[in-house]
Amino acid sequence: MRKIALFALAGALALSACGKKEEEPAATNNLVEPPVENVIIEEPDAVLPPPSNNAVATPAPPPSVSEQQQIQDDADASGMTARLPQEGEESQPADEASHSAP
């Protein structure tokens, strides 16, 4: 009797293993919205800042410029109107009146 039972069990196991169908896909309930998860699938890599040749990323403090240097720089920017000595002139003359062309 025990032998018969063992054979029956082995046969059942063999049958179940050979005849197993592919698993059915899990039934989905189309009436239920899947929960929205705040997860980005395939999140792209964060854009890296472009390689910078600046040693520091923050602005450097303004360069130290003396008042006299600033005046000279501004004078250059306003037009270096220091008059060059012309032939026959000893130095830079200061003529307030003449606006004559050569």
Partner: protein
């Protein structure tokens, strides 16, 4: 110099008017023909004599062979003075053609190549009329052509600095220019690029320092970062830099040959003001100049007075465009007053006070554009590196110190400006001496060590000037063979 002619013309016109009026007056108003009208202008016969014939042009002696050779060489040097973008092949001239070319070149170097009729109205700083013929005739006769030629160019360090800078940038161009930089350019590439313009750069110098110096030369915020604006300035082509230098050399030719030793100069493009005393800069300050839509004119004038606590009589153009659309209630709330004009119209006045658009001081000088130097309640702009934002006036960072300088020679006014302001009273203070003021437009200038600085061309005047020269200056370099492909940079 033409005043006598103008008076004669005016008098003749008056005579014509009197004849016309006499013939059209009603009979009861006419005086008998036998008597001249009592109020009619009467002129001595000498006043209506015909104009004397124009003097003949000074004859120019024939040039010797050595003079002709020198003159042809000199004519080929147009590129060195920024008259041509590159050296060009030129034919050898003789006789009248050579004399004509010399006269044209002399005029181009002395007063520029823009025809008087081509000046924009707001390019009100214009060269004096100049006839090169007498000088050339004298130079040929005395065999002093080189000295004559040397005296033609503007006798200022600024022009000379540009001339040297032009040679530097043309050499850079001839060696292939500079590379285009990006934010990823290697530090050594950036350093090498900047070193092309700034010879003080060393291979081991901190890049931040190199960049800050470059940013100061371009009028940018000296952050030491290779930011977008710095990249843009560094990537301006060398040809465009050369064109800017040439445009500024041309504007130098409009300057008077002698400037008053005491003067105020404003660079509109850089929005900066410098005070010169005894021909030396004694103080400077930031300014706010006209926006591109409200360009500050180039001009020269004399500051004759300062208005303390000035009201602002709003120009109608600004009132129509910006204030009247706000509505009367809003204007009243903002402190404006609408007043009737004698013609029956209305104008807007902003009373004097701390919020007046003119601030506490206005420096008055005659000009047809209604622009002035003045204080402003909007102080924040002075810390910006973009200071072209006014309606055309020049707003001053330190108006009180400028006013104090101008009145210092008057013992009654010396040190009194702040007191006058504090009084709250509107009053005009006449200056002990008028002070010359020059509103100039420089987009390229050399520092004393020869390094060039540049500003953007906010009004587009460099390009416009190049176009005007291109249109009118075939006479400037008549020996030049036509360029194969004319470009804007070919300013001959």
């Amino acid at each position: 110099m033409n005043r006598p002619d103008m008076i004669r013309f005016s008098t003749l016109a008056l005579l014509g008017a009197s004849v016309l009026s006499a013939s059209t007056l009603p009979a009861y108003a006419q005086t008998p023909v036998t008597q001249p009208p009592a109020m009619a202008p009467t002129l001595p016969p000498a006043m209506v004599q015909p104009l004397p014939p124009a003097p003949l042009p000074a004859p120019i002696p024939p040039l010797w062979a050595t003079q002709e050779a020198w003159a042809n060489d000199w004519l080929r040097s147009g590129a060195e003075q920024g008259l041509t973008a590159r050296r060009k092949a030129t034919a050898t001239l003789t006789g009248d053609a050579l004399v004509s070319a010399l006269l044209d070149r002399a005029k181009a170097l002395s007063t520029g190549r823009v025809d008087a009729a081509d000046f924009l109205e707001i390019w009100a700083l214009r060269p004096e009329p100049y006839d090169p013929r007498p000088g050339l005739a004298k130079a040929v006769a005395e065999d002093r052509l080189a000295q004559w030629a040397n005296a033609l160019t503007p006798p200022y360090a600024g022009y000379e600095g540009l001339r040297k800078g032009l040679a530097t940038y043309e050499a850079i161009r001839d060696k292939g220019g500079w590379p285009v930089l990006t934010a990823t350019s290697a530090p050594m590439v950036v350093r090498a690029r900047i070193a092309l313009e700034d010879r003080s750069v060393t291979p081991t110098e901190n890049l931040t320092d190199v960049l800050q110096r470059a940013q100061r030369r371009y009028g940018l915020n000296p952050t030491g970062l290779l930011d977008t604006r710095t990249l843009a300035a560094l990537n301006v082509s060398v040809d465009d830099r050369i064109a800017a230098i040439m445009a500024n050399m041309e504007r130098w030719r409009w300057m008077p040959r002698r400037l008053p030793v005491n003067r105020v100069q404003v660079n509109i493009a850089a929005a900066v003001l410098t005070v010169f005393e005894g021909d030396q800069p004694v103080t400077s300050m930031r300014a706010v100049t006209g926006s591109p839509q409200n360009a500050t004119p180039m001009l020269s004038s004399n500051i004759h007075s300062i208005v303390v606590n000035p009201p602002w009589n709003v120009p109608m153009s600004i009132a129509r465009r910006e204030l009247f659309p706000k509505g009367r209630a809003t204007l009243a709330k903002q402190g404006y007053k609408i007043v009737k004009t004698p013609e029956g119209g209305e104008r807007i006045v902003q009373p004097a006070g701390p919020n007046s658009a003119l601030g506490r001081l206005k420096f008055d000088f005659a000009n047809p554009f209604a622009v002035y130097l003045h204080d402003t309640p909007a102080r924040g702009k002075f810390s910006s590196y973009d200071r072209l934002a006014s309606h055309g006036c020049v707003r001053l960072e330190k108006p009180v110190s400028l006013a104090e300088l101008m009145v210092a020679s008057d013992p009654d006014l010396n040190g009194q400006i702040q007191t006058l302001i504090d009084s709250g009273k509107t009053q005009r203070v006449s200056l002990p001496q008028e002070v010359a003021v020059y509103l100039l437009y420089w987009t390229a200038f050399a520092s004393s060590n020869g390094t060039m600085s540049f500003r953007a061309d906010p009004y587009g005047w460099d390009k416009l000037l190049a176009e005007k020269i291109e249109a009118s200056s075939s006479r400037a370099d008549p020996t030049a063979a036509p360029a194969p492909t004319p470009t804007i940079a070919s300013k001959d």
